[in-house]
Symmetry: C2
Subunit: 290 residues, 2 copies
Amino acid sequence: MEVVSKNKVAGGFLYKVKIGSAPSLGGLSSTANVYVPPAALGGGHKVPAVVFLAGLTCTEDNAAQKGGFFNAAARTSLALIFPDTSPRGAGITGESDAWDFGVGAGFYLNATKEPFAQFYNMENFVTKDLLEAIAATPLFNAIDTSKLSVTGHSMGGHGALTLYLKHPSIFRAASAFAPICNPTQCPWGVKAFSGYLSGGVEEGKAHDATELISKVEKTRRINILVDSGLDDAFHLQKQLLPENFEKASRAAGFGVDQVQVNLREGYDHSYYFVSSFAEAHIDWHAKRLL
Amino acid sequence: MEVVSKNKVAGGFLYKVKIGSAPSLGGLSSTANVYVPPAALGGGHKVPAVVFLAGLTCTEDNAAQKGGFFNAAARTSLALIFPDTSPRGAGITGESDAWDFGVGAGFYLNATKEPFAQFYNMENFVTKDLLEAIAATPLFNAIDTSKLSVTGHSMGGHGALTLYLKHPSIFRAASAFAPICNPTQCPWGVKAFSGYLSGGVEEGKAHDATELISKVEKTRRINILVDSGLDDAFHLQKQLLPENFEKASRAAGFGVDQVQVNLREGYDHSYYFVSSFAEAHIDWHAKRLL
């Protein structure tokens, strides 16, 4: 792992790092932003971390620059990890032709359909390669990768919910801003699953938060927070379907103490919405990680 | 004034507006962002406003998207006004050739040298056209344009300090993030004043915060806050010169109670720096406006 740049923010440091030759990405490199809060600087005590997964067309920079997470993370002594949204440079024909599939649109799953299966394994990248690289880097010694939670926006909200539900040994909680909640039932998800998965949309059920919450062990304590805007154009287009996720959660026996879904009047899909609730989400994660 | 878009943020609304045919800009139109905090919505009570002036290459969007000002503005019931950094579309030969002169680099002065004098009058635009347009727009009825202060970043910090010092009847206070403090003594300022002013750098003294603070009425109560990073590449290149401004302020008899200059270890010139101190600046403005 190589440090590309470093910015002081909210008393801590944001490092942009390059992870060389990631196995999950077919050996491609990837960049990420890693925030170390002030309490963890200079051999300070170990701190938990929240992984932020970005949405369609985004990179590791969007939430770092526009999300408004750092002051709250500094105050609560949480590290933040921002990965990229897909492999870059695979060279697959047409992978950059659409804004909602391919480059910038990895959907945080492991592809099973060629030619994507060799490179598009963002689920493994986020849960293995990235975390191992951070754990192996002395600069990030103070980040306790055994105390993690995950959040994200839009496609990254889908990633947060599904990775949390699939990997209880890695993530203790998940929050999401305007997440794609039921991708087997919306155009974005159908396109992604049809393209990345040899079993298509049917196989995609294993990467659908609404399907997953219905099948989760009833004895598992669930920690999920969702905020989504009612004036979000993608909500109105039925791309997000938070109502389906909430209904499935209740049907599965999870109350608001375990799955909280807030539909916010007047808010849209932008980072203006994300930044409005960023502090509340960080505080929510802090309560579950500290 | 025409509303181009509207985003809910921190409980209030951010409006992008187009000001048609601004006299100070030779009749060109200009766009701005105007934030109305929750307390001022729906015929709420009148609120003061802080004008944010952006830096070189920026537009009305940079600080709105990356500055992290809205949650604090909502909490303190302050409106925020973000103008653009120059006229656009004047069509002057070469006006877009450099990143530090011409388009995106208006320096918040009134040009006296042709061909710029017809269009590049951002000082008049900010202090007259923009404020008059806001005052005349029913949507912004709740913004009290008789209670204003000004802030800004880099070139916009220069703008904030100089417009405050030159227009005490308009602005009650000024804060600045990494401002250009002594432009007659730095390459950016020399280039700008040589290009915009018929009297060149000598005329530029009238638009130089370090010169202005030396000449301000001793009886005037001054309210200035400056934060600037010590690892800022432009500070190290002597483009900003906050030390000159602080020295001139003290020599003019203004103590830290009137001119506070904080040099911040480890911080750079980016919006990561701005967002780290955004809340503190908003709170500082609120104390002086409410």
